[in-house]
């Protein structure tokens, strides 16, 4: 069974630029999550989708971050404009449904200069 796929693996941008990350969850998983992991900290949930609907985006900085999962499968997370403090690893995870174990992708390491 293929795992959660993410791209790109690494991205370096300058502050005030825009960036987008892509995630393809495990086939059949209805729930998709985006996490931000700052160095030295545990992952922090940004947004949770159930199929193509948002379940929880309470910790998403909506002035600069946006995410969508239009067809209930793939998802994109966008930052516009980026700030220095957005430097982190962005992890995507998926689960069969909201009550099941989450499985993580390899992450995208973002560096904002």
């Amino acid at each position: 069974e293929a795992g959660v796929a993410q791209s790109p693996r690494y991205k370096i941008i300058e502050k005030r630029q825009s960036v987008a990350f892509w995630c393809n969850p495990i086939s059949g998983h209805a729930t998709l999550y985006w996490y931000q992991q700052i160095l030295g900290q545990g992952p922090k949930l940004l947004i949770q989708f159930q199929n193509n609907g948002v379940v929880d985006d309470s910790q998403l900085p909506k002035d600069r971050f946006s995410a969508e999962r239009l067809k209930g499968v793939d998802s994109t997370l966008k930052i516009q404009p980026a700030k220095l403090e957005d430097s982190a690893v962005y992890l995507c995870a998926s689960s069969f449904d909201r009550a099941n174990t989450q499985y993580f992708g390899p992450g995208t390491r973002l560096t904002v200069l």
Binding site: V4, Q6, T31, Y33, G40, Q41, G42, P43, K44, L45, Q48, V55, D56, L91, A93, S95, R98, A99, T101, Q102, Y103, F104, G105, P106, G107
Partner: protein, 113 residues
Amino acid sequence: DQQVKQNSPSLSVQEGRISILNCDYTNSMFDYFLWYKKYPAEGPTFLISISSIKDKNEDGRFTVFLNKSAKHLSLHIVPSQPGDSAVYFCAASAILENNDMRFGAGTRLTVKP
């Protein structure tokens, strides 16, 4: 909000000995607890979980213990192997609510040959 805490940032043990990683939580609504292992440049990998109706769950060399009254869980690895060297994250969620997982900051385990 530090609802899940791993107070030891690092742990070093000798190969063949027991590794004990600890985790404390504050939210009494948490009813599902997980341990994830993370190697460099990879996403967290699910290791073992425990529901709040149990106090112990075992999977090969890995055992998780839950003490609900103390709001404390621990992961025991016996015997420890050099390949176990990684960062271990404790996570907790309230399954019957929205299953938002809260992570600890992680403990870096080094198993010396």
